[in-house]
């Protein structure tokens, strides 16, 4: 009984942690994608362009 209760508690903690971390990572990715704008705009310092 005690072992089963501990297992449920461990699963609960994992479930909470995974959900919050997953949401946090997606929000961070969104900010990373927005931040890429600074790099795209910095390309304007190349006078002519061309690769």
């Amino acid at each position: 009984m005690g072992a089963s209760s501990a297992s449920v508690a461990a699963k609960s903690i994992y479930g909470v942690t995974a959900a919050v971390l997953g949401i946090l990572l997606w929000c961070w990715v969104l900010l990373d994608l927005v931040g890429y704008e600074t790099f795209v705009l910095s390309l304007s310092w190349l006078p002519q362009g061309g690769r």
Binding site: S7, V8, A9, K11, S12, I13, Y14, G15, V16, T17, A18, A19, V20, L21, G22, I23, L24, L25, W26, C27, W28, V29, L30, L31, D32, L33, V34, G35, Y36, E37, T38, F39, V40, L41, S42, L43, S44, W45, L46, P47, Q48, G49, G50, R51
Partner: protein
């Protein structure tokens, strides 16, 4: 109100995707009002909550697609991969693309912050604290924090509106710093939400259910994959193109670059008038010069104009000769003499410097041609073949 409409018009940019974003944002706003009414009147919040969440998610998805498309378009334009009729046309297209990009990033977060806060409130206000409600509230608060961070970072572009290149550099750094701070705020908010959920979860006791564990694991796994996939962009964000990446741009037609002489390692750029001598004729500012006398007259006009615009300053007498490497001294001497006669004692030779190479994570190696001016002593030019056939 005028500013609001201006930003919305700039965001739409006359494209169907822009109108789609406006419609989605309108739907999200209407659904949010419906949700607000349901909370105020004590009615069921389920349907308005689903409608608000779905329309907000659609808005974010459409914004993401728009931003991706604009990144691609602006990058192609800035790297010269788009064949535009002339440079001014390319500059116009670039500024329009950047305007759509910035306004797409600055406009939707405004209502999304309010909508996300309303969703979090309606999930918790006088309701049973079940796990979907709690996770939904934490997610909504994190979305609101993300939208606020985006808005804050984009605000830097509006404070620096209309400023020059050096100012743009400061604006970019400020925007990047704000986004980095936003990630720290998000981390702190998520940590608080995590602790709160752990406390609530002890009471709920249903977090160990298989369906929840699968859903949480999937969220974490996709989040990790997205983080890894965005690493290249994150790297480039922290390795901007250097402000002085190319202090020596090449001012000749790209098909003539290869025929320029190769520069010595100590070659430098100077600010001086240029005259070109090619097998198909001589040119100044793209205007054909029939004879050396035309060159002399034109350069003389430039010298007088410079003296008029810079009273009291000493005329340096620099002029740059642009000619192919294969040109002989005898072919050039009459033109160089004309420049000398117009008051330009110091004739430099336009040369190809080693190209600039920028290593990026998302665009590969960007190669930028560079040109500079090598010294060319007039007396020596007439006597010795400095430019070898």
């Amino acid at each position: 109100m005028a500013s609001f409409l201006h930003h919305m018009r700039a965001m739409v940019g006359g494209r169907w995707l822009g109108w789609g974003m406006v419609v989605a944002l309108g739907c999200a706003s209407v659904a949010a009002l419906w949700l607000l009414a349901a909370v105020a009147l004590g009615r069921s919040r389920r349907k308005p909550l689903v409608a608000t969440t779905a329309s907000s998610a659609l808005t974010v998805a459409l914004c993401g697609i728009r931003v991706e498309l604009e990144y691609g378009e602006a990058t192609r334009l800035l790297l010269g991969e788009v064949r535009a009729p002339d440079p001014s046309e390319r500059a116009r297209l670039t500024s329009e693309s950047v305007s759509r990009l910035i306004n797409t990033l600055v406009f939707p977060p405004l209502p999304l912050i309010a909508i996300a806060l309303l969703v979090a409130f309606s999930l918790l206000w006088r309701r049973d604290r079940t796990w979907p409600h709690c996770v939904g509230a934490v997610a909504a608060l994190l979305v609101a924090t993300t939208a606020w961070s985006v808005l804050r970072a984009q605000g830097a572009f509006f404070t620096g509106f209309g400023c020059g290149q050096e100012c743009l550099y400061d604006v970019l750094l400020q925007s990047r710093t704000d986004l980095h701070l936003g990630k720290l705020y998000l981390g702190a908010a998520a940590a608080l939400g995590w602790v709160w959920l752990l406390v609530v979860a002890r009471r709920l006791g249903d977090w160990g259910r298989r369906s929840i564990l699968v859903a949480s694991s999937l969220l974490l796994l996709t989040g990790l994959i997205a983080t890894v996939a965005a690493r290249g962009r994150y790297y480039d964000t922290w390795h901007l193109v250097p402000f002085d990446a190319s202090p020596m741009p090449c001012m000749v037609r790209s098909d003539r670059l290869e025929s320029l002489p190769v520069a010595s390692p100590h070659c430098q750029g100077i600010d001086a008038p240029m005259f070109e001598v090619w097998p198909d004729g001589a040119f100044i500012d793209g205007t054909p010069m029939a004879t050396p006398e035309d060159v002399r007259v034109k350069l003389d006009e430039k010298r007088k104009l410079w003296l008029m615009l810079n009273p009291g300053r000493e005329f340096a007498g620099h002029v740059v000769l642009v000619a192919p490497q294969r040109a002989s001294v005898s072919e050039l001497s009459s033109w160089v003499t004309a420049a000398h006669a117009a008051g330009y004692e110091k004739v430099g030779l336009y040369s190809r410097a080693p190209e600039l190479q920028l290593h990026t994570a998302t665009l590969g190696v960007i190669r930028e041609p560079r040109c500079c001016v090598a010294p060319l002593v007039l007396g020596d030019t007439l006597a010795t073949p400095l430019i070898q056939r």
